[in-house]
Symmetry: C2
């Protein structure tokens, strides 16, 4: 249980080992992990061996390691991501059947939108979102909805933070963003044409639990030239159905 | 990095803390975690604080903790579960649209089937499977398929291990199981009527990558009285499509 000389806990080091893996880096050597996790090589080798012994990492035939299926299992079993997704997925499928582009579920996680699920038509418009990927709050339709209903302090932090543009249409002026958030609170939706990619429009609505608390954002991404009224209507119907199925404090 | 007096690594202790959480136990106190993880209370409290600091656990307003969304994110981002599921999900949706009961994706994990995904019709027949849940290899249609195409040694271990029945129809005789596995290798499918629940039939096919290696099982669960030919045809068509989209060594 002893901390390292740098005062770091073992939990922090293990976190950094696990964070070395990514969609584009699914198999790594212990040496690569040491470099990515900024750990001495001997420490990285020892931690990797320990984590392989627990099943949190798995060793491949070539000696590299990957995240273990058991890590996925633990994360999935006990997590509110799974519970929320289980309730929302049938509604997402209905929206997706009607809109036939991209349908997405996002939550607020440490100042960004984290996407829990995405359903996509093979012929859908370009869309930057990935499952377990993130986007900044100010740029994406889901992020704007989550920010609009978040505490004042978080809104203040976001508006004073970096507001980088993705396209010339991304709203980056704090005053215009403040107006946009107020509008979202009145409308209970946002239409964000070209904010993330010039060719696509994001449309998002808040998902509330039975007590009215906003838990997530449900969104579609459609071609910029497409009409938005039908998709918006589908999203609102889904949100109403989901509110009846999500108990208070889900 | 030091091990505890019992010689256990910190990684093992962290694993046990994370494993304390489950579908039915999503929020726990540090004291409850200590009991479930068989750790001294002071150790449990310290580890919980460390894990909250890393975001792998999250503290609720009432002081209890739950698995952090960041754990889900890490597990999801780097995992082969996600990559496999991404390829298979559109095919599962097509099967589900036609069969309208349950459609499931399972992989072999430490001697059991681990289910990565399940799509279910609201009016579908009873089905014990849960996402991130497990079933024994000998009893479930997915497990039988995975066992049939696993190395001889694993088949031997399974046939010599516990072969508990779920229903009077579960095949628990090692010789009959051996014949069933040989049949599955010839047929490339299994129909398992009432093996897990008396009212339901599981039907499963192997999913192969481009090199012919079996990576997973795709299955449906239908009412026992339902005809199986149509569902089997859908599963086989899906498996053929998936094999073209899964590169060697996925």
């Amino acid at each position: 249980m002893a901390n390292s000389p740098s005062g770091e806990s073992v939990s922090e080091r293990i976190l950094r080992v696990l964070e070395s893996f990514d969609t584009d880096r699914t198999a790594l050597t212990a040496t690569e992990i040491g470099r990515l996790a900024r750990l001495p090589s001997s420490t990285a080798h020892r931690l990797v061996s320990e984590l392989v012994a627990t099943g949190l990492l798995e060793r491949l035939a070539d000696g590299r390691v990957q995240l273990g299926m058991h890590l996925w299992e633990i994360a999935q079993r006990g997590s509110r991501a799974l519970r929320l997704r289980q309730v929302v997925l049938p509604y997402m499928e209905r929206v997706q059947t009607r809109v036939r582009e991209h349908t997405q579920l996002g939550v607020l996680e440490n100042g960004e939108v984290l996407f829990l699920e995405r359903l996509s038509d093979p012929h859908a418009v370009s869309n930057i979102t990935r499952i377990a990927g993130r986007l900044p709050l100010h740029a994406s339709s889901s992020g704007l909805v989550l920010l609009a209903f978040s505490p004042d302090e978080m809104q203040g932090d976001a508006l004073e933070g970096r507001l980088d543009p993705f396209t010339p249409d991304t709203v980056t002026d704090p005053d215009r963003l403040r107006e946009l958030l107020a509008q979202i609170r009145r409308d209970e939706f946002v239409v964000a044409p070209g904010y993330v990619e010039p060719v696509s429009t994001g449309i998002a609505v808040p998902l509330r639990d039975g007590a009215g608390r906003v838990l997530a954002a449900l969104s579609v991404v459609v071609p910029r030239a497409a009409p938005t009224a039908g998709a918006l209507e589908e999203l609102r119907a889904a949100a109403a159905g989901i509110a009846r199925r999500l108990p208070r404090g889900s």
